[in-house]
């Protein structure tokens, strides 16, 4: 299973991903899916800079990621697919039905979002999108780092930010 994790994390490539998940999963590649970053050299350099030498970071739009995901799955080594928000992951999963697990790793506070976990805040639209994905058979859990216990979606949505 070359793509070990499909993760929603608004910090994108950062310490928890590169080290926290990168070390135990022995990650060798990160696929960052974001329509804006996919067209910005400056943004790409920003996120590529921090990755360790053994880890490649590639940048895709939702469309190009959907088209290229089979190749990533067939690639040697273990990888992670990252999106910065729920909507981007929803669009990716809708185009790639073989994605069956989604990890909520960091969706932080902003106007209109309600606290569900310490690191998961969601708008009503985001909650609906996650429920819709779950209804399609996607298992959604929240887990910031591997050492913590995954929290099922229904428990996340019942949370109050603790």
């Amino acid at each position: 299973m070359p793509v070990e994790l499909y993760r929603v994390d608004d910090r994108l490539v950062h310490g928890q991903v590169v080290v926290g998940w990168g070390q135990p999963l022995d990650l060798t590649f990160v696929v960052l899916v974001d329509d804006t970053i996919a067209t910005s050299e400056w943004e790409q350099e920003l996120y590529r800079m921090g990755a360790p030498p053994e880890m490649t970071v590639t940048f895709e739009s939702v469309e190009s990621a959907a088209a290229g995901l089979a190749a990533y799955e067939a690639r040697p080594g273990n990888g992670i697919v990252l999106t910065g928000d729920v909507d981007t992951m929803r669009r990716l999963v809708e185009r790639v039905p073989s994605i069956k697990r989604v990890n909520l790793g960091g969706v932080h506070h902003r106007a209109g979002r309600i606290a569900r976990l310490r690191y998961v805040f969601l708008t009503a639209e985001e909650e609906s999108a996650l429920r819709a994905l779950a209804a399609r058979g996607v298992t959604i859990t929240a887990q910031d780092v591997p050492a913590t216990t995954p929290i099922p979606l229904d428990q996340v949505l019942a949370g109050t930010g603790e």
Partner: protein, 142 residues
């Protein structure tokens, strides 16, 4: 004869990192050098990228910082600090910070951009393993 340590320059910096990294580092600088006031600590704990960038921006403005020191090259603090540096002329970001880096910088004559290069070099050179190569050579177990 009274000992009169020459006061250091007034240029200040922000230290940003995971957990209590920044506060701990600044505390160590204070204990060793008595110059912890040169730094403002910032943690990324529970902050999203927008909030974190805003807090770094505020901290830089509050102390007129010329440098942001961060812990991990891949960390969210580094990403946020580089976004701020794009908008603040002259602001330098140093990542991979260790205690030697901060000590070298805080004692630099002007704490300018060249001081950051020198401090980073001091930090790299401060890394050491005793005994070096122990595992490869099968030593160090006895």
């Amino acid at each position: 004869m009274t000992s009169s340590a020459r006061p250091g320059p007034t240029v200040r910096a922000v230290v940003a990192g995971h957990g209590d990294f920044a506060a701990g580092m600044i505390s160590a600088v204070q204990v060793i050098a008595g110059r912890g006031e040169a730094f403002r600590a910032l943690s990324n704990r529970d902050l999203g990228p927008v909030e974190l960038e805003g807090q770094i921006r505020e901290a830089v403005a509050a102390v007129d910082a010329k440098v942001v020191f961060t812990d991990l090259p891949a960390g969210s603090c580094t990403v946020a600090a580089r976004r701020v540096a794009r908008d603040v002329p002259g602001l330098v970001v140093v990542t991979g910070t260790n205690l030697s880096v901060l000590l070298a910088w805080v004692f630099a004559p002007d704490r300018g951009a060249a001081s950051c290069d020198n401090a980073a070099d001091r930090g790299r050179k401060a890394m050491a393993v005793f005994p070096g190569g122990a595992l490869q050579e099968g030593g160090g177990a006895g």
